[in-house]
């Protein structure tokens, strides 16, 4: 059955058809869009090409840094202790975990310096976890800013990660003291912490870009996220050594489980910081015949994949942020 007199395109009427096309007096051949194009006008709400977008973002770097500093400054203004909380929060966290996993459950089998081991893990993981949580809220919490000013929207998740980076730097100073107090020697290995944290920063920016786009359009992500990060926490070898877990009888038949746990990005960055800071931990790993040099490749790969993928993914919805 054909309808030769109907020339509608396949798929029926497009939803986007204009009900009443704007008629121009005397010049009905040219649409307003064509008229605008002829005069070199550009679309106002269009998504800029990736290259321009990156340039814009780079020009905004001072804004991103200032916005982040202002955020972290205003975060504690209402509390009496003020910026002291930047140090207290990670310390209290580490204390709680030490109480439960170190003293009560006695997980410290095979780790010579358990408190330093645990606190390193908690601090490094917190950086990733909080970047993720802040990233999910970065668009939704700044809607008024998005609806008032023009700037590459990726500035927001970036700024949120910078806030967490500033927190991390404070934590790292605390950590350095703890590590020395618990009897670890200062060595040139410590310098390796810097490249690890840079890679982790890049990774965190990548995942917070992804979660920022998801959180912008599906607010439910924010309710779900705590469960995701807590599961991740327990899988990342923070309270236990993945190396000694792999030797458990139950895991002997499934060697891939240990491989997956080892390649988990959070675990990769934690282990690299531990092996750089803790002299004794390098010995602990050697006792299990586990190396850590290959982890550097994992760290690099995770950072690149997360950042490039996340940036591309976030940019694809650039013009739609702020619509609700």
């Amino acid at each position: 059955m054909s309808h030769p007199d109907r020339f509608t395109p396949p798929g029926g009427e497009s939803v986007d058809t204009i009900p009443e096309p704007p008629t121009l007096a005397g010049k009905s051949a040219e649409s307003l869009a064509e008229f605008a194009a002829r005069h070199g006008l550009t679309q106002s709400a269009a998504r800029p090409p990736l290259r321009t977008y990156i340039q814009d973002l780079w020009q905004r770097r001072t804004f991103i840094w200032n916005f982040a500093s202002a955020k972290s400054m205003s975060m504690y203004t209402s509390s009496r202790l003020g910026q002291v909380w930047q140090v207290l929060t990670p310390l209290l966290n580490a204390g709680v975990y030490y109480l439960i996993f170190g003293l009560l459950l006695g997980t410290n089998k095979g780790v010579s310096n358990y408190s330093a081991f645990l606190i390193t893990g908690v601090f490094v993981f917190t950086f990733t976890q909080r970047s993720l949580t802040a990233g999910a809220r970065s668009v939704g919490n700044n809607l008024s800013l998005i609806r008032a000013l023009h700037f590459p929207r990726a500035s927001l998740p970036f700024a949120m990660v910078i806030v967490e980076l500033q927190q991390l730097l404070v934590s790292m100073c605390v950590l350095a003291v703890i590590v020395v107090v618990t009897g670890e020697p200062l060595s040139w290995h410590w310098l390796l912490v810097l490249p690890v944290l840079v890679l982790q920063l890049i990774f965190n920016m990548g995942i917070s870009l992804v979660i920022a786009r998801m959180g912008a359009f599906v607010r439910d992500i924010q309710q779900l996220l705590p469960f995701v990060t807590r599961t991740w926490l327990y899988f990342s070898g923070i309270f236990f050594m993945t190396a000694s877990l792999a030797e458990k009888d139950a895991l002997q038949d499934y060697p891939w489980i240990a491989k997956v746990l080892e390649a988990n990005p959070a675990s990769v960055y934690i282990e690299l910081v531990r092996t750089s800071l803790l002299d004794s931990y390098r010995g602990d790993l050697a006792a299990h015949h586990w190396g850590h040099t290959h982890l550097w490749w994992y760290a690099l790969a995770w950072a690149l994949v997360a950042f490039v993928g996340g940036f591309w993914y976030f940019h694809r919805a650039e013009e739609r942020y702020g619509r609700g």
């Binding site: 006008l41 202002a70 203004t77 000013l149």
Partner: protein, 273 residues
């Protein structure tokens, strides 16, 4: 809500004025059959219990709290270089939404906005933080508007001088400012930038009489640098004073577009002022 929809449909059938292109002038902003739809969350409806929410998810219904607001419905016009266009209309007629769409801050659901250069709203309120000092807010606001750090430093003194705060207050948090002081500082920061297309959303009537006079002079200065100016205001005298053309919006559609005196006269008659 149903009543509003009904009225909207009635006005949908009324034809909007046709766009006439003036080939002798240089267009700065072209708005082509623009539709803006935005979503509002938490707008009531439903019993709001977990059980009803679950049933909704199972039946694959939309959230009742989510309402779509069709704020601008097929607006078309062309603004030329040197135009100062007043946008008038009753509350909720889509004036501010139209301005945000021209600025490219609200993505169009249909149609498009084409501009020369980057239109920007006069205002930085959203970027400022009340807990921080005036000093820091000046830097933050300038950077948020897209000034470089060098430009920010160069403009800093000018902003402080224009805001004319009591001595010492610039170092206090903005939350300690009186409303007039805060408004003055916000305006001073916002006006520190030059604009290709300047969009003003009722930002003029701030502060005391002295500051009003100074801010008006500043606006005129900004207007001279800008290619085109859009002004949303309820104060018709102000529109009459500043604009050479007026667009009258009604229910998100253009009711009238033309010479300032004519449109304002028609608007005053219609609203019975």
């Amino acid at each position: 809500m149903a009543e509003v929809k009904e009225r909207a449909r009635v006005s949908d059938s009324a034809p909007q004025p046709q766009v006439v292109i003036d080939p002798t002038r240089e267009p700065i902003v072209v708005v082509d059959d623009l539709h803006i739809v935005y979503r509002v969350y938490g707008a009531g409806g439903g019993k709001g219990t977990a059980a009803t929410a679950l049933m909704r998810v199972l039946r694959r219904q939309n959230r009742p709290q989510m309402k779509e607001v069709h704020a601008v419905r097929g607006v078309s016009f062309v603004a030329y270089r040197g135009d100062a266009i007043g946008v008038i209309g009753t509350n909720g007629s889509g004036k501010s939404t139209l301005l945000k769409a021209i600025a490219g801050l609200l993505p169009p659901a249909r149609g498009g906005v084409y501009t020369q250069g980057q239109p920007s709203l006069l205002g930085v309120n959203a970027a400022l933080m009340r807990e921080l000092s005036g000093e820091r807010n000046i830097v933050l606001g300038c950077l948020a508007m897209g000034l470089t750090p060098e430009e920010t430093r160069a403009k800093y003194d000018e902003i402080v001088k224009f805001a004319d705060l009591k001595p010492g207050f610039i170092q206090y948090p903005m939350s300690t400012y009186s409303s007039g002081m805060g408004a003055r500082l916000r305006f001073a920061i916002a006006a520190a930038r030059t604009h290709d297309v300047l969009l003003i959303d009722e930002a003029l009537a701030t502060g005391d009489a002295k500051f009003k006079r100074r801010s008006k002079a500043k606006i005129n200065e900004l207007r001279k640098d800008a290619g085109a100016v859009f002004l949303v205001a309820h104060n018709l005298d102000q529109v009459e004073e500043t604009c050479n053309r007026v667009i009258w919006l009604d229910e998100g559609r253009i009711r009238m577009d033309g010479d300032t005196k004519e449109v304002i006269a028609a608007y005053t008659e219609a609203t019975g002022k």
